[in-house]
């Protein structure tokens, strides 16, 4: 660990008050079609003559396939084909993304249809293709599977079993460390050891997955509709798997009904509709039902931590050690081992930790595969870190806030680098931040001190009520590159083509604002295109809070290029130096005088048409294609505060208050950021209190309906208070931006555990998420 590092690059950007539209809480441009029923989600996309696919799924959590008898299904009118793995024998398993180091884990990838073994209930075994979705479903029920049951492994902290004969279900053991951990624990005033668990839950978007494959044999062009999140990256993977050139395979994103990290990853069904579309030369549509979603879409978070912390007598952290049992589920999906790696690298959070050693045992179990869910590895590690800090406070008799205060990295120490000893493990380089300042602001805004007195009084009167705090780091905007194309139409409309993706977070509005700010147009005149691989060849997509930072950076660069071209050209037409010109509401005019000569951007575009005599060596069109490249990640940070009240009789936890304090560097649209933070917070509360994918000892999923998988409703959520600050714009970004997609959820598990401990006045009581009424009742009975 060291600090110091790269010089800051960009000057501090102006505040929103000095901006026209960037930083302002303007209404979204994407809303009108969505409130009038004109959205176009995967289920709304149809092609003439399309087939419908239905997947036959394993009823066994682990077993050997003895036979698949499709004769009855094939005899049904309207059924075209039933495939098993033998029909796609040449197809590789669902591959990792190209940028993932996959050494030693490729054997654990999931085949599109199970080959020899089934490994979770829901594992695709066969695919039925029929003219009608109802018929496809009927036929799927007629496919007879003979499966020889094998022993199941249902916990990652149980001894490993076998993935296949001779291959352990412990796929890999990963390490992150720095500093002298032995010395830290040897010299400690106190050492605390905790055994902690985060429960299995997931994003569960309201729209289930969907995929429509279309093949144009005349052009040898393959299309996947219903794409989301990372269309360009998925195209790379699909080209590799299907051995096709990128120009012959295109992904098309339409409206997406929520993503949260799990939607838009590549799944078996996406590949199957493409292969089938080619083979049958007919469009093939697949829409997941909810039960399938709850058994097959990526789940996440399930980890057990045996964590230790060493501190001096004042509560300063000397070292942290953690052994993680990461429940990967049945296969390793597209992210490889990203989640356990992010868990380990973000474990020390916003604190100064001189020595650290973590080991993650990535173990396969006979459950639905796990992957990234909003704030992957961070929700988990913040829970563990928060529990450790609360335990230190209790052990040393120091106030929980004070013990955190004493360990925070300060603004003077920025940029702050956390480097790991293991070769190839990327260092974290915190770019900017004032963590102590945000903590104090949050405590003040929440009325923390007065609150403590109130809570004490209420507890004295018999209530089980308490408050908690969690502090966390986020990461966003990881490089390397994104690009954008901008073109001004003769009528002044601006077309902005990005390689980004929208999962409903307000991407179009944010990009339009960034474009409009640089170009001097009304943001509502910008048509934002995303998720179309045929319109732009590269795109970073929408993941890991990248969109606003990286794609936004590309939009800023490109809009500035168009602006420069417009001003240079207008300068000649208006006989005015370009430096004296500005663009206001789509008109190029003099900065200093009102009513002088002016020209509309659309008119400039007209005069730049191909063949125009005014071109004089310029390329035609008022347009540009720009790139934003960066080697860096930017690090937002936040504080969560919460008040929880426990019902002694029912064990139900009511979250009375919740504050998300978050420094976003610079906000593009505070209204949308608040939306992200509040929405994320409520998802996090679900994972903290009620959402859990439960399995029985035979591997049967018990949470396969919305009656069993309990997501928060209006009645379960507090009025979340948001304190959005802009104290630490990123010096690594031209607009100072940092991401905001995951700051609402990151600390939710940690802070709720902290608040419930306080409510029960039982330090360290909460060791496991979610804290269901049943678990509270068990605690109260002790």
């Amino acid at each position: 660990m060291s600090h110091g590092g790269n010089a800051h690059g960009y000057p501090t950007p102006p505040p929103s008050s000095a901006r026209r539209v960037l930083g302002h809480a303007v209404a979204r441009i994407e809303d009108r079609p969505l409130v009038t029923g004109r959205g176009r989600y995967a289920g709304d996309i149809n092609f003439p003559h399309q087939l419908h696919m239905r997947i036959v799924r394993s009823p066994n959590a682990h077993g050997k396939i003895l036979s698949v008898d499709a004769s009855a299904a094939l005899a049904m009118p309207g059924v075209l084909a039933v495939w098993t793995n033998a029909d796609i024998a040449e197809l590789s398993p669902i591959d990792f993304r190209a940028d993932k180091n996959a050494t030693g884990i490729r054997e654990f990838r999931q085949p599109a249809l199970a080959q020899t073994y089934v490994r979770y209930i829901g594992d695709p075994v066969a695919a039925v293709f029929a003219d009608d979705p109802y018929v496809a479903e009927d036929a799927a029920e007629q496919v007879a599977l003979a499966i020889e049951a094998l022993p199941v492994v249902m916990s990652a902290s149980d001894p490993p079993g076998e993935f296949e004969p001779g291959r352990s279900s412990e796929a890999i053991v990963l390490h992150h460390s720095f500093g002298d951990v032995e010395a830290a624990f040897r010299n400690a005033h106190a050492v605390i050891e905790l055994d902690l668990q985060t429960g299995r839950h997931s994003g569960v978007p309201l729209e289930t997955r969907g995929a429509i494959g279309v093949y144009d044999a005349a052009k040898d062009l393959l299309e996947l509709h219903g794409a989301a999140k990372i269309p360009h990256r998925n195209r790379e993977t699909l080209c590799r798997m299907l051995n096709r050139a990128p120009s012959s395979l295109h992904l098309h994103e339409s409206h997406v009904g929520g993503g949260f990290g799990i939607r838009g990853e590549l799944y078996p069904e996406d590949v199957l509709v493409l292969v089938a579309a080619m083979r049958f030369e007919r469009p093939v549509k697949w829409i997941e039902d909810r039960r399938e979603h709850l058994m097959c879409a990526n789940q996440g978070r399930e980890q057990r931590h045996r964590a230790r912390i060493a501190v001096d007598r004042d509560g300063h952290i000397l070292g942290i050690e953690d052994e993680i049992f990461h429940d990967q589920g049945a296969y390793i999906r597209t992210h490889g081992v990203n989640v356990p790696n992010r868990t380990m690298c973000m474990m020390t959070g916003a604190y100064k930790v001189p020595a650290y050693r973590a080991k993650a045992r990535v173990r396969l179990t006979n459950k639905t595969p796990a992957a990234t869910y909003r704030a992957p590895g961070r929700y988990e590690s913040t829970f563990v870190r928060s529990r450790l800090m609360d335990a230190v406070a209790a052990k040393l008799g120091i106030d929980p806030v004070e013990v955190r205060r004493r360990n925070l990295i300060t603004a003077q120490e920025m940029p702050y680098v956390i480097a790991f000893d293991e070769p190839g493990v990327e260092a974290l380089e915190f770019d900017s931040g004032d963590f102590p300042a945000l903590l104090e602001k949050a405590l003040k805004a929440f009325g923390w001190d007065k609150l403590q007195a109130d809570l004490k009084r209420r507890r004295a009167a018999g209530e089980l009520v308490g408050a908690g705090v969690a502090i966390f780091m986020e990461e966003s905007g990881r490089g390397p590159s994104d690009n954008a194309k901008i073109k001004v139409d003769p009528d002044g409309t601006v077309e902005l083509i990005t390689g980004g993706a929208s999962l409903g977070q307000g991407f179009e509005t944010v990009m339009a604002q960034i474009c409009a700010e640089a170009l001097g147009v009304d943001y509502r005149r910008v048509r934002v295109i995303h998720g179309q691989t045929d319109l732009i060849d590269h795109g970073i997509g929408a993941h890991a809070a990248r969109a606003t930072v990286l794609t936004g950076g590309a939009v800023h660069v490109t809009a500035t290029m168009v602006r420069d071209k417009a001003l240079e050209f207008a300068s000649e037409l208006l006989q005015t130096p370009a430096d004296d010109l500005d663009i206001v509401d789509g008109m190029v005019m003099r900065r200093d005088t009102k009513g002088g000569p002016s020209i509309a951007l659309g008119d400039l575009a007209k005069r730049l048409a191909p063949g125009s005599k005014l071109l004089r060596g310029r390329d035609p069109q008022l347009a540009a294609h720009g790139w934003y490249n960066t080697d860096h990640t930017v690090f937002p940070y936040g504080v969560h505060l919460a008040v929880a009240c426990v019902d002694r009789d029912t064990g139900r936890v009511a979250v009375e208050r919740f504050m998300v304090a978050y420094d976003v560097g610079r906000a593009v649209n505070p209204l949308l950021i608040e939306g992200q933070l509040v929405g994320g917070c409520v998802q996090g509360l679900g994972g903290a209190l009620s959402e859990e994918f439960v399995y029985d000892e035979a591997g049967e999923p018990l949470s396969a309906t919305f009656a069993d998988y309990l997501m928060p409703t209006v009645h379960d959520v507090p009025d979340v208070e948001v304190l959005l600050t802009e104290d630490a714009p990123s010096p690594r970004h031209p607009l100072g931006l940092k991401g905001a997609g995951e700051g609402g959820i990151n600390g939710a598990g940690g802070v709720i555990a902290s608040a419930i401990d306080d409510a029960l006045q039982m330090s360290g009581a909460i060791t496991r998420l979610p804290v269901t009424p049943q678990r509270i009742r068990d605690l109260l009975r002790r």
Partner: protein, 162 residues
């Protein structure tokens, strides 16, 4: 199972003469046979409320009914809320208060809330929460949905009073 029945669904005042299997759900018929895809399918087991429509004056979950049960009856969906280019006050309130993100649950919430406000324009805040607790949203954390519906209620009440 392939014997079809001829029925008429009257959606937003327009009659759709369709032929469906008796087992076809109402939401599938509205979407696939009548082409009104504004009504979405979220769970198909009656919990999320994404497919909420108004049937003869009551908010119902169209995934829990068969299309044949709605034969000849009046259905209102999200496509019928706006008056031409003029949005319904609730649609406008959802935009103004950022009451939607991905928009998938939005048609269901709109129909649920419109129905509640039409039945009781003076509905109280708590009762409104009880109504809104019938549907699930995964993006917004509900806060802005609540704000939007309260604002629309107040606006519609004000408009009636003047």
């Amino acid at each position: 199972m392939t014997d079809k029945t001829d029925i008429i669904l009257i959606i937003n005042g327009r009659a759709h003469a369709i032929s469906v299997e008796p087992r076809k759900t109402l939401v599938d018929a509205i979407r696939d046979d009548c082409g009104q895809t504004g009504t979405h399918i979220g769970c198909e087991h009656g919990i999320c409320g994404t497919c909420t429509i108004i049937l003869d004056g009551d908010a119902v979950r169209s995934c829990l009914m068969f299309a044949v049960q709605a034969d000849g009856r009046h259905i209102r969906t999200v496509e019928g809320l706006a008056d031409g280019e003029t949005l319904h006050p609730l649609q406008q309130a959802f935009i103004t208060h950022h009451g939607l993100q991905c928009g998938f649950c939005t048609p269901g919430f709109l129909m649920l809330a419109v129905n509640a406000l039409e039945h009781n324009p003076n509905i109280g805040d708590d009762e409104l929460l009880d109504v809104l607790a019938s549907n699930l949203c995964r993006c917004t954390g509900y806060q802005n949905i609540i704000k939007a519906v309260r604002a629309a209620r107040d606006e519609m009440r004000g408009a009636k009073a003047t």
